[in-house]
Amino acid sequence: MPDDDVAFLPATRLAALVREKQLSPVELTRVYLDRIQRLDGRLRAYITLCEDAALDAARRAEALVMRGSRLGPLHGVPFAVKDQFDTAGIRTTMGSRLFEKHVPTGDATVVSRLVGAGGILLGKLNLTEFALGGTIDYPFGQPRNPWNTEHETGGSSSGSGIAAAAGLCGAALGEDTGGSVRSPASWCGVVGLRPTWGRVSRHGSFPLCWSMDTPGPVTRTVADTALLLQVIAGHDPSDPLSSARDVPDYVASLGAGVRGVRIGVIRELVQSPDTEVDVRSGVTAAVGALADLGAVVEEISLPLIRQAGAIFMAICDSEGAGLHHRWLSTRAAEYDPGTRRRLLAASLLPATAYHEATRARALLRRRMLEALDRYDLLACPTAHEAAPPIATSKAAIVSREDAAGRFFTRRSFTSPASLAGIPAIAVPCGVTGGGLPLSLQILGRAFDEVTVLRAAHAYEERTSWPRRPPGLG
């Protein structure tokens, strides 16, 4: 098989080939390093590449295979993580000039779990500054969408979306506060899961909003996402708010199908005037496919969801402004202008507005959990539009209306799951006439990632959307 084809194999397949001694971890690592060398000068998925360390780890992995040692589920599979997760001895920038030379002394729990499962850390992935979104001048290079490099990747886990989509790693890890895993997965045409808040340890992940931050996989298939979740989920004493619930077998239950599963399709997000026609028809066809597979699909109404973007930003941005206040007052010029202006505006919000938003959040969560009493899953678009041109995101904000249009609408699609603390997955559901990926979002009950993954897998198996961006080998 040509190297470029190997690069796009699912991580589950790569792990199986390594176990069966049909694929050398060293050769596989070289395949990805070669592709990164060829393609990443333009795509800018990586901030830091761990070339020597990755090859050393691959040689050790190969020796264990040849020795017949017991192997972890990711043994020999090269992966990469968003540069928001601490990595011992490897610089961790948060995508910011303020942390350009920051080298942590320990690994984030998710990183140590992936390495412990046999994964090989290839490098650290690009992101919007401090995972906040809205970066104008990326300190480590402009991330570009592999499907069309003049278009946005989505954020904040931009590099995670690129690396998974462009075959620059076996699997990637991102972090999702208000959609930072699902948004790049959506626009880059890959799978991204926001797990239930508390399902995965946040230890060693630079915070943005404590009550919503969660690491999550970004991969080429739903099965890969299930595999990564299996590895990273579970209680961590270093994150006291991580759940002590048992971790189910996500991989084993993938093939159970959706017959009889009740799915509520959120009218306000599918039929919103802001939702592009291609997005609406892609998602409508996708839920139709789930109905064909035996799911019971009905439309539901959640009017308060229209306010989710504003509620989310009032909470997230206020917490971010508090976190950054000291640096903002002493090192403001080192921030990207987009990040700085977002944090400055949030710094001036009245405390009463924040407080009201926390109560509105509780009400929205109640409405969503009530809907999930009646339905096993909820469905909607992951984003209201396909990836927009990079140039439009960089234009100056010229009015209050311009600011409102840019910030609140799009966040009403991914932030509801964040506000409710429930799992949500983005799964590709077609391409636009212009060849850009579309994405279906499936939300589930807290800690019921099993049903979310089952439905996403059933849909993925049913369809054959193009998975490989054109022109990338």
Binding site: T358, A362, R366, I397, S399
Partner: protein, 64 residues
């Protein structure tokens, strides 16, 4: 409600020890006015009996 002016935004920022460039001030004023406008509908929600639970329901699971 009337939009905040640039001078008002600048004064608010100074009160919390934050300084802005002229370009920042223009954009932050637009952003803050948009923010306040977007949050206005929340005042009409039936929030009187809603407790502002600071974390998600997952928190209770953490104590298990």
């Amino acid at each position: 409600m009337k939009d905040l002016t640039r001078a008002e935004v600048e004064a608010l920022a100074a009160a919390v020890d934050l300084r802005m460039t002229a370009d920042d001030l223009v954009e932050v004023t637009h952003r803050l006015n948009a923010f306040l406008e977007a949050l206005r509908p929340l005042a009409a929600l039936p929030l009187d009996a809603v407790e502002p639970v600071p974390t998600s329901p997952a928190r209770s699971a953490a104590a298990e």
